[in-house]
């Protein structure tokens, strides 16, 4: 074990861990939202994210940008990132709605057992991921260098860059807006009502089908934002990018308490940090092993996750 390495690099590992954690957290929201309402793990959510990572790259490609382009300047960067966000959000949102419509809704109408949903979820996930793999010949696709990383402030040896701040702030703002929406708006009340008791909600005149679509859409929007942040941070995407991060995001959702929005945020940030600290302390090869052992420990102590509240009982 390399304690001096961990202590020496503690600051930098913290900020890069938080950045990765912010991406995981936004991604995790999709799992948590759907689970909160439907008690269903939407494994195809990883491909909702995946298509987002491609959508913004394709859009930037229309402007002639690839991994070898020079960095654009000034407002062009802001505009490109905003457009990229729009493209990714649209692509991910549509994918989420599509998956719901094709893979889940017909099963729901036939009162299929939960196992059937699980299998169609995995099936939809693999089908989309493999199709992307075949279309892209399983090659990586590089991201244009939109942001030149510059230190905004330095604490000790912790250099906090403009890109890291952008990612973390964007994630927090998105979370905040979503949280407000669920807890304050009329549509949000509908979501909470269905999560609490679908039958009572239906009796009160809540349109369950529409609420479910809305939940998938919201998860998709968040995944789209996460996808752009992932592109900017990792610099490359490929057909299995969603699968890898999806497992981490799902883990984060469970760790924070699945069905709980704030739990997803906490779980995501925590997982990002834990993985980085594990890499620093034991070596990068231990990153997943250590993080997941900790997950088991957390669940042993708190079986419902850290914040263990369901979406329905979230404070209004």
């Amino acid at each position: 074990m390399n304690f001096s390495g961990l202590i020496h690099n503690f600051g930098p590992l913290t900020i890069t861990g938080l950045t990765q954690g912010a991406i995981i957290a936004l991604f995790a929201l999709g799992y948590t939202l759907v689970y909160g309402v439907l008690r269903l793990i939407n494994f195809a959510h990883s491909e909702v994210f995946l298509l987002g990572t491609y959508a913004c790259l394709i859009l930037w490609g229309f402007f002639g940008l690839d991994q070898n382009s020079p960095t654009p300047t000034g407002f062009a960067v802001v505009g490109l990132i905003l457009l990229g966000l729009v493209a990714a959000i649209i692509a991910s949102g549509i994918t989420a709605l599509f998956v719901e419509l094709v893979a889940y809704r017909p099963l729901r109408h036939r009162n299929a057992p939960p196992l059937a949903f699980l299998i169609t979820a995995i099936g939809a996930s693999l089908a989309i991921s493999e199709t992307v793999g075949v279309v892209t010949q399983r090659n990586v696709r590089g991201v244009p260098p939109l942001i030149v990383q510059k230190d905004v402030f330095v604490i000790g040896n912790m250099h906090v860059t403009n890109q890291q701040i952008l990612i973390i702030v964007l994630a927090l703002v998105s979370m905040f807006v979503l949280d407000r929406f669920i807890n304050r708006s009329r549509l949000g009340r509908g979501i909470r009502a269905v999560a609490q008791s679908p039958d009572s909600a239906a009796l009160m005149g809540v349109n369950k089908g529409r609420v479910i679509s809305l939940v998938f859409l919201l998860g998709g929007l968040m995944a789209g934002i996460a996808a752009v942040m992932y592109d900017l941070k990792i610099g490359v995407t490929r057909f299995d990018a969603g699968f890898l991060l999806g497992i981490e995001a799902f883990t984060a959702a469970v760790m924070g308490g699945i069905g709980n929005l704030r739990g997803a945020l906490l779980g995501g940030l925590l997982l990002g940090l834990l993985q980085n600290y594990a890499a620093g302390l034991f070596g990068t090869e231990w990153l997943h092993a250590v993080a997941f052992v900790l997950l088991v420990l957390i669940l042993l102590i708190r079986p419902t996750g850290l914040l263990g509240e369901s979406l329905g009982r979230a404070r209004a």
Binding site: T16, N68, G142, V236, A241, T284
Partner: protein, 395 residues
């Protein structure tokens, strides 16, 4: 029962009849084909198959395709002299995956017409597939697998057309020490048979120059390298050696650059692929050094480089020339009448073959004779590909 069995007999006769007709038609077609070719083709040289075994799809397919095309070009040229379809090319796609390789290898050895295999390219799939080739007695030449222990298993059918990591590792260390002259080096690897083996040798050869080490997940299993990047930056190293393949190499280079690291990434032949700059971006990949126990294909002898470009419409890549030579070693063997797998294997243990990339002679373990081993350093430039920098002198 009675009725059923007569029915079956009838069916069997019918199928047999069709098969006989097919055979005659096939023979006629074959005659026509050879008639169009050289008249000396008495067919004692024909009717055999050579196989390519390696990744044609999957994340590391670029290298497999380089090798397959070099191999196939040799057979095409042979058939131009000896008649169309004289020697038939069979392709077996392992995806470069040790988990997939054994099943594919079993399919290969089931085809009894195959008397030689060019491949497998990667060390991991060699470990998985070679025992199956050994059991079946099918001789093989890998043009690119470099893990040292591959030759220590007592496999009689194993041969490789290049030096192993014991030659590449020290040469990489030699280049770092003598040409780059850094005071601090960071060494990482991807925990693969190939990457870890290579990194361990480099670590040992560099000794006290190594200020830090780390291990990553394999290709496709990790995309965020924040932990590694921080260790490299924090160590103050100006050179990082990474034992691994180009997919991870490109990502690591990109994330090191993004974190402001100005040092140079050095790797083995697994990173010698334009895929590295595709992930990292040309500007970021530029200057990256890769070693390779392979001569630059553009310096290959004869008309190989032009022929390859004419046939495949892309320039010959890493190991294309060695694969071409490997195939020609087999083809010369067929020419000399070694048309059974055991005779072919005996021939491989004695032959000295001068090819377009190198001269080849195999030791009793199937290693390339040390006097013919050459290691080159390549550098990524503005084209996004690695161009030859210099041949690394033997220390």
């Amino acid at each position: 029962m009675e009725e059923g069995s007569t029915l079956r007999q009838g069916l069997a006769r019918a199928i047999g009849g069709v098969a006989v007709v097919g055979l005659i038609a096939g023979a006629a077609a074959c005659n026509k084909d050879t008639g169009g070719g050289s008249s000396t083709a008495s067919n004692s040289k024909c009717g055999y198959e050579l196989a390519f075994f390696g990744a044609l799809t999957g994340p590391a397919a670029n290298l497999g395709v380089n090798i397959e095309q070099g191999f196939e070009l040799a057979v095409i040229q042979y058939n131009e002299k000896n008649g169309a379809n004289c020697v038939v090319v069979k392709k077996f796609d392992s995806q470069g995956d040790p988990a997939v390789a054994p099943g594919v290898a079993r399919n290969l050895v089931a085809d009894k017409k195959i008397i030689g295999v060019v491949g497998p390219p990667f060390s991991g799939e060699n470990e998985a597939a070679d025992p199956i080739f050994e059991a079946a007695g099918v001789p093989m030449i890998s043009p690119s697998a470099t893990r040292t222990t591959l030759s220590a298993n007592g496999w009689k059918v194993f041969h490789r057309a290049l030096g192993n990591d014991n030659s590449q590792g020290p040469a990489a260390a030699q280049y770092i020490k003598e040409v780059m002259k850094p005071t601090k080096v960071f060494v990482g690897d991807d925990q693969s048979a190939y990457g870890a083996g290579l990194a361990d040798i480099v670590k040992k050869s560099l000794g006290s120059l190594v200020v830090g080490t780390d291990k990553t997940e394999a290709d496709g299993k990790q995309t965020d390298f924040s932990g590694l990047v921080q260790k490299v930056v924090g160590s103050g190293a100006t050179v990082m050696f990474y034992g691994g393949y180009y997919a991870n190499g490109g990502l690591i280079r990109k994330q090191l650059t993004a974190a402001g690291w100005k040092g140079t990434l050095v790797g083995g032949d697994g990173m010698k692929d334009p895929g590295l700059s595709k992930a990292a971006g040309i500007a970021s990949a530029k200057g990256t050094i890769v070693t390779c126990p392979c001569a630059p294909p553009e310096q290959a002898g004869g008309t190989f480089f032009a022929d390859y470009k004419a046939k495949w419409n892309v320039p010959a890549g890493t190991y294309s020339d060695a694969a071409f030579d490997s195939a020609n070693i087999f083809l010369q063997g067929i020419d000399q009448g070694n048309t059974a797998i055991d005779k072919m294997n005996t021939y491989l243990s004695t032959v000295t073959y001068k090819g377009v990339a190198n001269t080849y002679k195999f030791t009793d373990k199937g290693e390339l004779d040390p006097q013919y081993i050459r290691v080159f350093a390549y550098k990524f430039d503005d084209s996004g590909d690695a161009k030859v920098d210099q041949e690394i002198k033997k220390s």
